[in-house]
Symmetry: C2
Subunit: 240 residues, 2 copies
């Protein structure tokens, strides 16, 4: 945990009383002294600093003061729903890297039973995403949307100007793709790829096909690699 995160509703007069595993982490790992300042943050709110006011066997009381308001990530991810085990592993990595909208979608090659997983229950995926935020130190929780029918979702959604579709045989590499504005959407298909009818649908909506490597990667490896490139491009965009 590089930042202790809390919900706004947990604050009372700018004080935060922790009694759960965050308290355990503070007491057993961070081991602060009274008066020390810890990095804290409000979920979907400001980065803050928490001054240690009280330390008990199981309780920590922090006085919270706001430090700065983080900007939301500018990258959206449309991901064909991977198998539950893979999704579970990916979620904290996705939030750690910084994603604004996370669309988990059905596709012709997505097995229907993947949608029955407990990983898609909000309580579960929020916990997994929170883990990634506490690692990366961000407070911006990805906005998750589970999509059962891709064509109707695509037809009714406004996408940013940069729309990339990861496709193994595209001639343009994601590394070379031009970023025309800071915000972009990256679409990543299922194991086995998109069907040609799906590819046509994306093409009709102006998605640009980009490739990654001349290798067949596991979908989670491909996802992290592609996100890495997209996030780094986004961070550099502002500096050019």
């Amino acid at each position: 945990m590089n930042r202790i995160l809390y919900r706004k509703s947990e604050l009372a007069h700018d004080q935060l009383l922790l009694t759960d595993r965050r308290a355990t982490h503070i007491l057993q790992v961070l081991k602060p002294a009274l008066g020390d300042e810890l990095r804290t943050g409000e979920i979907d709110g400001p980065l803050s600093s928490g001054k240690v006011m009280r330390l008990d066997a199981q309780k920590v009381l922090l006085a919270i003061s706001e430090v700065s308001q983080p900007e939301r990530p500018t990258l959206d991810l449309l991901l064909a729903l991977p198998r539950p085990k893979v999704l579970k592993r990916l979620l904290p990595q996705i939030s750690a890297m910084g994603v604004d909208h996370l669309y988990l979608t059905n596709a012709e090659r997505v097995e229907k039973y993947y949608f029955d997983t407990h990983v898609l229950e909000p309580d579960f995926y929020h916990g997994a995403l929170l883990e990634g935020l506490q690692q990366s130190g961000d407070t911006c929780m990805p906005q998750v949307e589970v999509i059962r029918h891709l064509p109707s979702f695509l037809s009714k959604t406004d996408f940013p100007e940069n729309r990339w579709l990861l496709h193994p045989y595209a001639s343009q590499n994601l590394l070379d793709a031009e970023l025309r504005s800071e915000r972009c959407l990256l679409a990543i298909g299922p194991e086995g790829g998109w069907r040609s009818s799906e590819l046509e649908l994306f093409e009709g909506l102006g998605f640009q096909q980009v490739s990654l490597f001349d290798r067949v990667l596991r979908s989670d490896t491909a996802c992290i690699s592609a996100l890495g490139i997209a996030v780094a491009k986004g961070e550099l965009y502002g500096r050019d």
Copy 2:
């Protein structure tokens, strides 16, 4: 398994008799007919094609013919030994992405007990690396070296011209780092980073510090992201 891999010693008169989980995979997943050609490959040897000659309940006989000789990857990875659980998860991803030399090194912030893991036994890590090769379809097994003392290793090793050290506060982003020849070495530190004495050592050997994101990532996420960028850069290098 996108390619069935075998050792040269398993071939007899260009025939490969499989009775282990590769046979199970062929029989239960690929379900070929007699005469079908399967993608096969010799570990550290040619890509090949295996014609199905016999299919029994537990046995598959393939007639192997060489297709092409793959080029070895041009990327070397020097990785501070991560905790065993993380290493185990990383190994197939590393080989799938394509690494030539994989140096797993001690560092001041690497816990000594990480070296006691069974994951560092050659039989174990070969199996994990093989899994990644069967996924990506490559035959080039990373050459693993376990390094107990980093300074003496660094002083006696010839590194390629491009030597990058991943460092969170470097002003240059890996994405922008100039690739002056196809071969490069990427060095990735432990959780908590390199010590300043280690940084000086790398600097003295001409390692260029490069950063990834303005975020603290888990070491496996950082490793896959950085590898992804380095591999993509390497693949594009030949095309420029």
